[in-house]
Amino acid sequence: MVLADLALLIGVGFGYLWWGVEASRVREELLAEKARPAATEWTARGVVRAVLPEMNVLVLTHEDIAGFMPAMTMGFRAESPKVYRGIGVGDEVRFTLKGSGSNVAITAIEKLQ
């Protein structure tokens, strides 16, 4: 009986160790997956809240940008001032973002309707 208990304890111990090793491996893989940089392109709709030409930045209240950020009011750098020519506060727009990580810029923007 006592022997059986000992065996059980050893078994559970090994199982726990294995689980711990496996879990940390999976976590590392996940982190590696996340850290991999890749230039990606997203398209979303929003409304222009401010144009800051001195900083080359547009502030947009935008919808969910799938895989990048949830809906919020946020400033984005424009690739060049040409991109937002003719765009003003209150315009509803569809815009394209390109980049990776925190380094993204608006590459195209068009008025809806």
Binding site: R45, E63, D64, R94, L112, Q113
Partner: protein
């Protein structure tokens, strides 16, 4: 009850009586087997009338859901319009959502069929309206 047991205890009568009472009590009750997880909130909301078509339909329930047996769909006049990838959120197991293609104006019905972690099934639905945008692409 204490008295009844003098000498050879007559176990025939009291147990049967008790059993009968128990069964009678059970038979007298209504069987109400229905939903356990309750819909707490939804987006778009029930009966909402939205100008901008939503990209997702989201539901929040009172209890955690079993992803394998929880599904939802969005319908427009007997045509299923959602993308078919209804999923329970990984961050909050009480949230179920499905992606939607660009919707035209019209009335849409959201239907759900979910299993909560206590092993019970709940069903339901509601409708919302897309008012539509003139000249939308």
């Amino acid at each position: 009850m204490v008295m009844a047991a003098r000498g050879r205890p007559s176990s025939e009568i009291p147990p049967r009586l008790a059993l009968c009472i128990g069964l009678l009590v059970l038979a007298a009750l209504p069987a109400g087997v229905e939903a356990h997880a309750v819909l707490v909130r939804s987006a778009p909301e029930a009966r909402a009338s939205v100008r901008v078509p939503p990209r997702r339909a989201q539901l929040w329930f009172s209890e955690r859901l079993e992803p394998a047996y929880s599904t939802m769909s969005v319908w427009n006049d007997r045509t299923k319009v959602d993308s078919g990838d209804a999923e329970v959120s990984r961050e909050d197991a009480r949230q179920l959502s499905v992606a939607l293609p660009p919707l035209d104006r019209g009335v849409y019905v959201v239907k759900y069929h979910v299993l909560s972690v206590d092993g019970h099934v709940a069903e339901g639905g509601y409708s919302f309206t897309v008012k539509g945008e003139a000249g939308r692409k």
